[in-house]
């Protein structure tokens, strides 16, 4: 059984050794809050943990809140309802998620992973901070339909929460600031960086890739970047990937910027754990990754804002042979991070 994060721990140990000159690797404390050690192959995060230093109690409080349906108006929907760990915190099998009163949302619930590296959230980038992000689903009429004021009232009426919040924040009563900071301790911890690909990228044991998978990686680098670039496998930009010719149902990024140039653009999702986050696209229209590749190969629709990466002269899309599709699909499987998907510390019943 391999260690959870051998390289980062080793790096940390070496750094400590260099800094202190007298500390051995074995003396480095184990990671008590998941995700608080940066993966060696990742870029610098946007959300600095110094603005909300995680503690074990704070993280666990955030986890309890994440899975607590009392955060919704009628106590039926939790954050975890639409963000399931085994599906990389996306909503397995749901094109559109159902919220309160069985109401349907308008977009596909995105995977929650590596959120510390995102500058903006939601498919249209309308949310600008990890800490205020939960207010959107909490107050949305078809998601949790609750107010922050009411949630805080419910939490204060619960002796267990009152006690746990007091331990973490050292002040009473519970307010929305504490609620948002505690939730952020959990969501900031959702780091997925231990797929087989990561072990390969960090030259760790367990990082063996087949010839087909390596061909897939090369293809991805040639044909799918910059959109799915960097070790996060997204450039976090907004792009029109040719799903439709018109955008009456959902203007995407233009809903926020009101710029015609942004019509039909949606946030480029990460490919990490993509084999587990079906269905795909902002409205969950594709059930399988084969359908997604077929879309890029021959399904791309023209429009005024089509991404330049998907148009060469008058040719639309990214031509892919059947062998190329096979290789790409093989590579995408290597981005599945079983440790993240099964880490008890992140689960509803740890």
């Amino acid at each position: 059984m391999r260690q959870r994060i051998p390289t980062v721990l080793l790096a940390l140990g070496l750094a400590a050794l260099l800094a202190a000159g007298c500390q051995s690797e074995a003396e480095v404390a184990p990671e008590t809050v998941p995700g608080s050690v940066l993966p060696a192959n990742f870029p610098a995060p946007v959300y600095d943990l110094n603005q909300n230093p995680p503690t074990k109690q704070g993280f666990e409080l955030g986890r309890t809140l994440f899975y607590d349906p009392r955060l919704s108006r009628d106590g039926t929907i939790s954050c975890g309802s639409c963000h399931q760990q085994f599906a990389a915190f996306s909503h397995a099998g749901h094109g559109l998620s159902h919220g309160i009163d069985e109401l349907l949302g308008t977009r596909n619930a995105p995977a929650l992973q590596n959120l510390r590296w995102q500058r903006n959230f939601l498919w249209d980038g309308g949310s600008n901070h990890l800490e205020t992000m939960p207010i959107a689903p909490l107050t949305d009429a078809v998601e949790m339909d609750e107010t922050l004021e009411n949630v805080v009232r419910k939490l204060n009426a619960d002796a267990s929460y009152a006690q746990r919040f007091a331990v973490v924040f050292n002040t009473k009563p519970i307010d929305s600031y504490q609620l948002l900071k505690a939730l952020a301790q959990f969501t900031a911890a959702l780091t997925s960086a231990n797929s087989r690909y990561d072990h390969y990228a960090r030259h760790e044991s367990g990082g063996t890739m087949s010839a087909g998978e390596l061909r897939g990686l090369r293809l991805l680098t040639q044909k799918c970047t910059p959109c799915h670039g960097t070790e996060l496998f997204t450039d976090n930009s907004y792009r029109n990937n040719g799903l439709d010719r018109a955008f009456a149902a959902d203007s995407g990024r233009a809903r926020i910027t009101q710029l015609p140039a942004d019509r039909g653009k949606f946030k480029v999702p990460s490919l990490r754990n993509v084999a587990r986050t079906a269905p795909y696209m902002h409205d969950g229209r594709f059930q399988t990754l084969e359908q997604v590749l077929d879309h890029y190969d021959h399904g791309v629709q023209p429009s005024a804002t089509i991404d330049p990466q998907l148009q060469t002269g008058t040719t639309l899309g990214i031509p892919l042979s059947s062998q190329e599709k096979t290789d790409l699909l093989a590579f995408l499987q290597t981005l599945t991070d079983e440790q993240f998907l099964t880490d008890k510390r992140l689960s509803e019943k740890p």
Partner: protein, 243 residues
């Protein structure tokens, strides 16, 4: 005893001298006082549109006081949410203002860009119904009411936006009445009385006609027009009590 007392005096003298200022918001509509929720329209715009007001809420932030020599006192953590229905919110109390003779005031109507992007906030900035979650940022000013001229009989203006062309943050420096100086002293608590004229939201560079312009619900061109309106004279220093 006398020895320790003189020590105290000495320590106190080393501290900067500070005083207190109260800024009172007096809500009016043109020449009338603001009376909320009138059963029939109690105000009329210059173009003849009749209306009543049910909601007036706005943020005042980053208050700065200026002395004649141009030096400024910048109030730290300076965020206030004024609500016409809450009398206590209409008095902005500034503690620990350095003593001196001040001749000017500057403040922001709304919330600065930094706090619009800084995550969870406390106090006046705690997210409330003055905060958009789907397009993160503060609503700087809300004005809602009724008008027979409006399509569905009502108008709702929610003004915010802090980026690019949609930036609705406005900073104003309403002049003191001629010859008036604000004297901050350790033993005085002066009161500045501000006339806050709702009619200015509807007039100014763009005169609002309810029939064609009855909503603003997001950052954008409509919000910017209304912000330009209220930046052009909604706040006026009426008088200052030295007390």
């Amino acid at each position: 005893m006398s020895f320790s007392f003189s020590n105290c005096k000495k320590d106190a003298a080393a501290e900067p001298q500070v005083g207190k200022l109260a800024i009172e918001m007096d809500h009016v509509v043109g020449n009338s006082s603001l009376v909320l929720n009138a059963a029939t329209p109690n105000y009329t715009t210059p173009s003849g549109d009749r209306f009543s007001v049910s909601t007036l809420r706005y943020y005042i932030s980053n208050i700065r006081l200026r002395k004649e020599d141009g030096s400024e006192y910048i109030q730290p953590e300076s965020y206030y949410l004024v609500d016409a229905t809450r009398p206590d919110s209409k008095v902005l109390t500034l503690e620990n203002v350095p003593t001196g003779d001040y001749t000017g005031i500057t403040f922001t109507i709304g919330v600065d860009a930094a706090r619009n992007t800084a995550g969870a906030q406390k106090g006046a900035l705690a997210p409330s119904d003055m905060f958009w979650s789907w397009n993160t940022g503060y609503i700087f000013l809300k004005l809602e009411g009724k008008s027979p001229e409006a399509d569905n009989g009502a108008f709702t203006y929610h003004i915010g936006g802090f980026e690019g062309a949609n930036n609705a943050i406005r900073t104003v420096s309403p002049a003191f009445p001629t010859g008036t100086t604000l004297l901050i002293r350790t033993d005085h608590a002066p009161e500045m009385h501000m006339k806050v004229d709702v009619m200015k939201i509807l007039t100014g560079p763009t005169e609002v006609r309810f029939a064609t312009f009855s909503t603003a619900h997001m950052p954008g061109a409509s919000a910017v027009k209304l912000a330009n309106n209220y930046a052009a004279g909604m706040f006026r220093v009426d008088h200052i009590h030295a007390n």
